[in-house]
Symmetry: none
Subunit: 218 residues, 2 copies
DNA sequence: TTATAAATTTAGACAGGTCTAAATTTATAA
DNA sequence: TTATAAATTTAGACCTGTCTAAATTTATAA
């Protein structure tokens, strides 16, 4: 078994290598883990002994297949629990991270798979991040809700997180349909609503709630 | 904050002092925690420093009010999670203990209270043990083991004193499950085994040992 | 290309929780 | 009441994950 701490290191390395970088530096891990570089080196040696990472002194690290499998399983748990917290316990989407950080370390695979089923095998967590399935596979085209785009950020609409007819009809009417490109012009401070522009030059505001439920590919 | 281990010690002391004993011995804690007496002594010193237990060398321990509050909150979490696992995720009642042992250490109070609400504020867990409410109060309505009933006495099965899977599976098989009514037909003189009858008219004998471990509300 | 800066690793220490072996205290039985 | 057994504690050690300070390697810029 791997300790709570080892799991967090693997997860950190996984997230750091997702954002491009082939090889992850000791310092970047230290920053994410909120610890010192020396401590990271100690742990890297341990993870290398366990064959969970590829590691050569001074050269940075990457996950082995086994390490990656573990990391993905933790990400799966984290995102499933976040989905549970928001959908079933009515947490706000910005309140769930810390709790999920604890829940992701619960070991029972049976629990995770039953939870997955209970939740209806969701594909995305409340932040729009894809949830790996039981085999660790997930949609890799990173979809983000419009609400997470920065000003001047844009993308192509790829999906929605809300399937109520009224909502879909609204999208239809506003031409916010799959395949269309949108760009964020402004995020209104006081209610977090978003001013967007279509490729038709049409510009208008949508509520934060709507922005959260439209997923775009960047 | 208290460590995972400290919480488990407090919980162990709580359970040991529930079963009568005012003061709990080092050895009994060691047995429950599956560790050595010397390790227990080390931890007792620590818990005493934190004012969570009353402790005098060689004299056994008891929980302070603060220690008891923590122990009860862990019991609350444990039983709520067990209820969740059985009611929502379709676990069998004899499969939930180990998973709940992990889940009980998740710290968020917000999570526990929302979970409680989501589950409909249940009063008993799947083993019939009472679930403390948000203020740590719970039904202490006296449950009696079947072994203490007189002939012709009866009651509704409300819980068990033994949580070994083999035992729980035996109960399952014999339909000796929570909510079922039983009546004592005879107490066999020579081995103190008990002949009981279910509301289904099924009549059979159970050993004194089994009778001691099934709790009924009269 | 070499001096200096930045990144990384090593050496040695510490705190938490555990252990074994030995010492001490309490309980028990003749 | 005293010898012996049982329970408990102490002493000293180990392992994990962390740290600081110093040493080493790699990167960079003149």
């Amino acid at each position: 078994m791997n300790s709570y701490t080892e799991e967090n290191y693997l997860k950190a390395i996984y997230h750091l290598s997702i954002n491009g970088n082939e090889s992850v530096s000791t310092n970047s891990i230290a920053a994410v883990m909120n610890t010192k570089a020396a401590s990271v080196t100690d742990m890297l040696k341990k993870l290398f002994e366990k064959k969970l990472i590829n590691y050569a002194r001074y050269q940075g690290v990457s996950l082995t297949d086994e390490g990656k499998t573990i990391a993905v399983s933790i990400v799966r748990k984290h995102r499933l629990w976040e989905f549970f917290l928001v959908e079933k316990l009515q947490f706000k989407w910005d309140e769930v991270h810390d709790v999920a950080e604890e829940l992701e370390h619960i070991t029972s695979a049976e629990l995770v798979d039953r939870l997955d089923k209970f939740l209806g095998f969701p594909k995305y967590d409340p932040h729009g991040d894809p949830i790996p399935d039981v085999n660790g596979r997930f949609n890799t085209n990173e979809l983000k809700p419009i609400s997470e785009l920065l000003v001047n950020g844009g993308g192509i609409i790829m999906g929605v997180r809300e399937h109520m007819p009224q909502f879909l009809q609204y999208l239809e009417k506003m031409k916010l349909t799959i395949g269309n490109h949108i760009k964020v012009i402004e995020v209104v401070e006081y209610d977090q609503s978003v001013i967007i522009q279509l490729n038709t030059e049409d510009t208008f505001g949508i509520s934060r709630d709507v922005a959260k439920n439209i997923l775009v590919r960047i």
